[in-house]
Subunit: 199 residues, 2 copies
């Protein structure tokens, strides 16, 4: 019985992630959600206290997946190059696994209110700090050029995060292949200076 309930809850969260992404969290009412799930509104409250709680449960699995992976990468003995490669693979794999939820997690930030907001911001910043740390290590070890670390982190984050806009599970490439292309561009760019500004 409990298993049945959990399964139903997961189904609701899958639908909620899709509706939040398509329509926007603020524009989606509990009524809309109930209708999409084929439930009465009252039944929805049987599973979730309120809409904020649904948003949290849509977003949390992304961070629960991502953060332990980032920590494992950070504390590993891999080279910065290899760390960056792994990090992009993980980020793209998260989008592949649940594009709707990652879109909501990354793009509906305005919707996350108190008491969840502080923790949310901390988790999101964790991703950028992780990239900054890899770049710092790479520069320190002479493997990457001395570039503006904040800007390079934002550039690399942008490559990955923008995929929430265009990624399709029926697309030409797997998340692994996309991450490979992005890593190639990023690492080649971080390592090699194109000297001439003239051509």
């Amino acid at each position: 019985m409990r298993e049945e309930q959990n399964k139903r809850k997961q189904e609701i969260l899958t639908i909620a992630a899709r509706i939040f992404r398509q329509k926007g969290y603020n524009a989606t009412s509990m009524n809309d959600l109930a209708k999409e799930c084929g439930l009465f509104k009252g039944s929805l409250y049987h599973y979730f206290k309120n809409k904020e709680e649904i948003l949290q449960e849509v977003i949390q699995p992304y961070f629960e997946y991502l953060l332990p992976h980032l920590e494992a990468i950070d504390s590993s003995k891999m080279t910065p190059t290899k760390k960056l490669r792994m990090s992009l693979e993980i980020q793209m794999r998260a989008i592949e696994a649940n594009r709707d939820a990652v879109s909501v997690a990354l793009r509906e930030d305005r919707a996350v209110g108190n008491p969840y907001r502080e923790e949310y911001i901390a988790k999101r910043n964790r991703l950028e700090d992780h990239l900054v740390a890899i770049l710092e290590e790479g520069i320190e070890k002479g493997m990457f050029r001395k570039l503006d670390i904040r800007m390079m982190s934002k550039a690399i984050l942008g490559m990955c995060n923008w995929a929430t806009v265009w990624y399709s599970s029926s697309g030409r490439l797997s998340s692994k292949a996309i991450a490979d292309h992005f890593t190639d561009l990023a690492i080649s760019g971080l390592k090699n200076k194109h000297l001439s500004r003239l051509d």
Copy 2:
């Protein structure tokens, strides 16, 4: 009198761009907008037929700014490297000029309905096609490596478009400086192969 009206209309559009970005288009009512503008709802309809028209007038200036610039770049005799540099400068300058409006133009695509939708998609695709053409030319001329052109375009678009999320006019760097950093990473990455996958 007409001048006064135009000025007021522009003020409304500035406010609308901000509210649409912060709250989402779907979640913003004409009532919300009127309140933020210090107007009665009826007065808002004096300037705009409906909310769809406001969205269009928020989005259009971005494309009206961007597209002629892209066409000038495309038809110029500049090298692909220089074209890419110019293109990123223009894209970042658009964000600097009106981050709210560009955010709405790029991230509220779900909100653009008929009869505007087809033209909107065409204009948005124009930006990616422009990058694809530059990369094709660069590869053809032996200036860039033979990379996956679609993926490289999406990576570069992602760098720029994600700036709608983090760019702040009070930030450390100008749009020109940000574009310089992104161009450095992209061009160096497009030109130079980092051969080893081992380090």
